[in-house]
Each structure stands twice: as structure tokens, then as C-alpha cells.
Amino acid sequence: LKSEKNPCCEFFDVNKDSNDIVKLLQKQPDRYFWERNCSASILSPGWVSSIETVARMIFTPHWNAIDSKPTPNAVEDVANKGLSVDRLTHVSLQYVHEQALLAEEKARDRPAEKPRRLEAVMWLRVERVRSVRVGEQQVFGVFDTALPENKAHADVCTMVIANKQVQRSARESLYQLLEP
């Protein structure tokens, strides 16, 4: 389903600026069907296949300089506004790098005396992301939330209704899947 009228597309369009879009998504009974069968944006080149790999930019302070690894909070957006990633099947590494540098420039404009630097671009394999379970339930969904300026944009969202413990467990699971 790729038309403008598909309910998944409408949901993400209406709620695109909400920092609670993940919690709103968890209230949608068809969210699991949407994730595998509907595009989340009319600009999308197609829903996200499980064989895809996506890239996630890591900025300070979500970076531990002592061991040169991200902190678990590098994936915290997965529980609220959706974790922004780039689909590597629809974008070149060169483009990801350029976007990362642009994002760093944008981050510098934000109010902070602590400088924000781009530290790394990490990979997530979609199949592994979708394979995380709580009981029988799939924890994460990957939605093709293409943007006018970036058609390869996608969001990883927590789909299972999560109390605090499940949220922490989910964060740790996704954090463990980040690859350099």
C-alpha cells in the first residue's frame, strides 16, 4: 500500500512532529501489519526489507570517548520520537557522510555550551532489529519515513507497549545491535 490514503502514511504524516509518536504508534492496532505492508511516506521508495542495513549517526554526548563506543542513550529515541536512520540500499555511503556533516553543523546551532560533534556512523541490520522479542511480541518496527530532503530516511520505533523495565530492556537490546 503506497497511496496517500494508506492509514500508516496518514498516521506518520499527521504525527510527524510529535515527540510521542512512538507511544501513539503503540496504540494503533494495525501497526505490525503496517510495518511489513504499508509505506509510511508517499515519498518512500518502498517499505523496509529485512535484508536492508540502516545507518545511525552518533553525536556527543551520546559517545563514550574512553572506549570509543556509543552510550545506550544513543538509541533512546526509539522509545519516543523514533530513531532516525538512513537506508543504505537507497543512499550512498558518500551521501550518508555528507548528511552526517550537515547534521553536525545543524547540531552546533543548537543551544549548548557543551559542543556537539559527530563521532561515528553505526550500522543496524534490519533483520536483527526486527528479531528482538519480548515474549512472542516483536519489539521494534522499522518504518520508511522518507523525507523530501532524504528519501532514504527511516525510523526505528518501539512497537510493543512498554513499561519502564521493558523500555530499558529494549534500549539495551537495540544498543547491543549497533555495529561499527
Binding site: A65, D67, K69, P72, R117
Partner: protein, 188 residues
């Protein structure tokens, strides 16, 4: 001679990428004094990661700018630097931790590192500040919310994994004992 000194200093600094954490604009949050570091020459990163119960984590690091800091001090510096974040630092709604949260987290570093090894710090756009230990077979994290309440999550990465969670703790004797108990369970 100058060149030799520079090479020696760079070689000492090479195992760690610590320089970016040593911002000349150090955070102005008042933190407890933590002087009195020991000197060793063992591999810093390996020791940092190797033992969950390592108590000897106070290792001196030679930096290019000739500062001498301990890993523990680096953790405290990073926590203090979160005080330099401003509202909207991540997105327009991003919150910042307050001084009392930073103090609680910094105190937890001192209270817990001797028994459980030195944790790593983290900050959230929700305004919480935390610590975590991440090893191949086990993981633990602690979060301090804006009201000072503390929550702990631990995971034994076995098959099946074993998880524990506790929240609503405070920085007092009972709270520290509960955290210690959950962390000890990870090892048993």
C-alpha cells in the same frame, strides 16, 4: 629531545581517545575533590573493560596537553560537562539535568566503582543522567530522574537472558544497598 618527548607522550596517549573529553571549558558544576590517584603502566582500556569487580580503576593517563588525570576523574568530568548542556540541546524539547542529579550520579560513581568497577556516564534528552556497565556477558544501567529518584536495570546476557529492574530508589543507605544487591546478583 623535544621530538622524543612528544613521541613518548603520544605513545602513552594512544590507547585512549581521551583528549576530546578534556574540554578547556570545564564544567562549572562543583564536584567533590577526587585527588590521590595511583600510577600504573598496565593497559588502561583493557583494565577498564576487563573486570566487573575491578577496584583498581584509578589509573593515571598521560595526555598530549600534559594533564594528568585518572579514568575516574574523566568520568566525573564528563558528568560535570552535562551541566553545560542547555534546553533544546538535542531537539527543541530536549531537557537538561539539574545540579542535584549530577551530584547524585557523581556520588554513585564513588559509591559503586570500588565494588563493581568504574561505570561509564550517559545523559538523556529527557533530562535524566545515568551510568552503565557493558560487558560481553552482562550489562547494568542506572538512571537518575529530575526528582532524584534512581532506577536500576541489569541483564545477564545468557540464554535465556535474566533481567532485574528496580525503580523509586533514593540516594541513601537502603538505596545503595539495593543497587549493590542487584549488581551482585549479576555475578552469582
Amino acid at each position: 629531545m623535544i621530538l622524543e618527548t612528544a613521541v613518548l607522550v603520544m605513545a602513552l596517549a594512544a590507547p585512549l581517545t581521551v583528549a576530546p573529553m578534556v574540554d578547556s571549558r570545564r564544567a562549572q558544576v562543583a564536584m567533590p575533590d577526587r585527588s590521590g590517584a595511583k600510577q600504573t603502566t598496565e593497559s588502561l582500556v583493557n583494565r577498564f573493560d576487563s573486570d566487573f569487580s575491578a577496584a583498581e580503576t584509578e589509573v593515571t593517563v598521560a595526555l598530549v596537553d600534559s594533564d594528568v588525570l585518572t579514568l575516574r576523574q574523566l568520568v566525573h568530568d564528563e558528568i560535570a560537562s552535562y551541566g553545560l548542556l542547555r534546553p533544546g540541546w538535542d531537539d527543541a524539547d530536549a531537557l537538561v539535568p539539574d545540579r542535584s542529579q549530577l551530584w547524585i550520579v557523581s556520588t554513585l560513581v564513588d559509591e559503586l566503582s570500588a565494588v563493581h568497577g568504574l561505570p561509564k556516564p550517559m545523559v538523556s534528552a529527557t533530562g535524566s543522567v545515568g551510568l552503565y556497565w557493558d560487558f560481553a556477558d552482562r550489562y547494568a544501567d542506572i538512571e537518575v530522574e529530575g526528582d532524584g529518584s534512581i532506577s536500576v536495570f541489569t541483564k545477564l546476557r545468557s540464554a535465556p537472558p535474566v533481567e532485574q529492574f528496580e525503580d523509586g530508589l533514593k540516594l541513601n543507605t537502603a538505596g545503595i544497598e539495593k543497587i549493590n544487591c542487584l549488581m551482585r546478583n549479576l555475578l552469582n
